[in-house]
């Protein structure tokens, strides 16, 4: 609803759009309290918002708030065409398009990824500023500032939400996908929250991706691949933490509680991702996740196949984190000596040296090589570097395990 209203009033008037939605919801609550819920609450809300928008247009017709120079908006200024132009904005097909268009506007390449996600959560997912602040474990003030900056950017550059042309849809979609994936990861492995898993963020990310898949123009292979990837990851959510909120490693997870429906859904999406000749990191990550999800036990995991995917991943993007994860696969497939040899290749990497997982994996390798002192040293360093309480607990358990 906000997306439609932003289309009507322009990105420079986002507050106005939010106010109308707020007003419509308040009227709904007041009216429904006495007359009961209407048969089609959605249509009722849309109609109410539409009427409020008409009031605002009539009131602001001669003010400079709304830019009526746009041909589509020009028709809103005349009573000859106001009502039917307004009705056009609220057609089902347009509502869906506006939603996607707003998603692309939020993910404008010039807007920082943090601000992109903040704005998506606020304007498209209906999060309050407080909820967004909670998602990022920051203050409402910071979030307000981020929102303000994005709104200013829209205003200054007169960004018009639109679904990109086929020529550029690939590059623009990749920015949208990485925002969605980042949101998912924040939910899946919360970096700065007491809660390790945040299902609200996970479901929002999946919902956003699904809405891309619902429109023909944005049904790209990489979108299917990301959707598959998220399904596979989400299928394992419940087995990842104990009731007390402690982390459970893949090897120790109860595979019987993995969500088979989500795994099946993920497989379906992965098949759909296979058309065309696009091979993205999402395809490969999904393929890896698929291998994990379909292995009957940790030992039965097809590490060989997984290693092959990691090799392909490194070919697309020489990402040190991927390299690090590949070391883990080598550890399982070829043993700790080879893993140690490989991981030493990146021991001087600046970012990795500050990344807890690097030290955690190094600790694991040393543990397997029965070098307890080295292992404990690495685990301790990893504990210092992670902010997640669950990760800290898990690593402390590993140290305790060696000492016993």
């Amino acid at each position: 609803m906000v997306a439609v209203l932003i289309k009507i009033f322009g990105t420079e008037n986002i507050e106005l759009a939010e106010d109308v939605v707020q007003d419509a919801l308040v009227s709904a609550l007041e009216t429904w309290k006495y007359r009961g819920m209407p048969d089609n609450p959605r249509a009722w809300l849309y109609r109410t918002a539409r009427n409020k928008a008409i009031d605002i247009i009539r009131r602001k017709k001669h003010s400079k708030t709304i830019d009526f120079s746009d041909p589509e908006r020009k028709l809103l200024t005349s009573e000859y065409t106001l009502a039917s132009t307004m009705n056009d904005f609220w057609k089902e097909q347009h509502i869906q398009d506006d939603f996607l268009a707003m998603m692309y506007a939020c993910c404008h390449p010039d807007i920082s990824q943090e601000n992109q996600i903040t704005f998506i959560l606020k304007s498209l997912c209906g999060f309050s500023t407080k909820e967004v602040a909670k998602s990022f474990l920051t203050t409402e003030d910071t979030i307000s500032k981020r929102l303000y900056r994005t709104k200013e950017y829209f205003r200054k550059h007169k960004i018009r939400p639109s679904i990109p042309f086929p020529k550029e849809i690939g590059t623009r979609t990749s920015v949208v996908l990485s925002a969605i994936y980042l949101m998912f990861n924040e939910g899946y492995n919360s970096t700065h929250d007491d809660q390790l898993i945040r299902k609200d963020l996970i479901s929002q990310a999946m919902w956003l991706c699904k809405s891309l898949l619902d429109s023909e123009r944005t049904q790209l292979p990489e979108v299917y691949a990301l959707m598959a990837l998220m399904c596979f990851h989400a299928a394992r959510i419940d087995s990842r933490i104990t009731e007390e909120g402690a982390l459970i490693l893949l090897a120790d997870q109860d595979r019987s509680i993995w969500n088979t429906e989500l795994i099946a859904l993920g497989s379906k999406y992965l098949n759909q991702a296979a058309f065309g000749d696009t091979l993205t990191t999402y395809h490969l990550e999904a393929a890896i996740a698929y291998q994990h999800c379909t292995a009957s036990s940790y030992d039965a995991t097809n590490w060989k196949e997984i290693l092959r995917y990691y090799d392909l991943l490194l070919k697309i993007d020489n990402d040190p984190i991927v390299f690090l994860n590949r070391c883990l696969v080598l550890l399982e497939l070829n043993g700790p000596e080879e893993a140690l040899f490989m991981i030493q290749e990146i021991k001087d990497h600046k970012i990795l040296n500050k990344y807890y997982l690097y030290h955690a994996i190094l600790g694991e390798i040393h543990e397997r090589l029965i070098q307890p002192d080295e292992a404990i040293k690495s685990y301790k360093l990893a504990i210092e570097l992670t902010q997640s309480k669950s990760e800290k607990k898990l690593l402390s358990r590993k140290i305790a395990h060696i000492l016993n």
């Binding site: 041909p71 589509e72 028709l75 005349s78 009573e79 000859y80 065409t81 039917s84």
Partner: protein, 114 residues
């Protein structure tokens, strides 16, 4: 580009007795016509008018609570458009949807003063 005023007269009576379906169709024609003018950046503005009104005469002293014109002479709406010449503005006016209801359209150029 010059600006022109279109005064649309008459047609209200016939329109008011049209079926809801035909009224709807008529508004769609307006939508299409004005939409294409807006697309070509020729539309400045315009509004339909309500029949009731006041007419002042005798230096504003006398107020008659209706427009002087009757029926087909009554101004029912106006449009401000951009065009290169009176001829072009006239061509545009020929497509006015209200001709369906027997209106007349007067096209006048906005006079630059001073």
């Amino acid at each position: 580009m010059k600006e022109f005023l279109m005064l649309i007269r008459g047609g209200q009576e016939k329109y008011n007795s049209a079926s809801p379906n035909n009224m709807q169709k008529h508004m769609e024609h307006w939508q299409q016509w004005m939409g294409s003018l807006a697309q070509e950046d020729k539309l400045v503005g315009g509004q339909p008018l309500i029949n009731e009104g006041n007419t002042m005469t005798e230096g504003g002293k006398k107020v008659t609570d209706r427009p002087f014109a009757e029926g087909k002479e009554l101004v029912g709406g106006y449009l401000l458009i951009k065009a290169d010449s009176l001829a072009q503005a006239t061509e545009i006016a020929k497509d006015c949807p209200s001709f369906e209801y027997d209106c007349s359209v007067e096209v006048r150029e906005i006079a630059p003063m001073g």
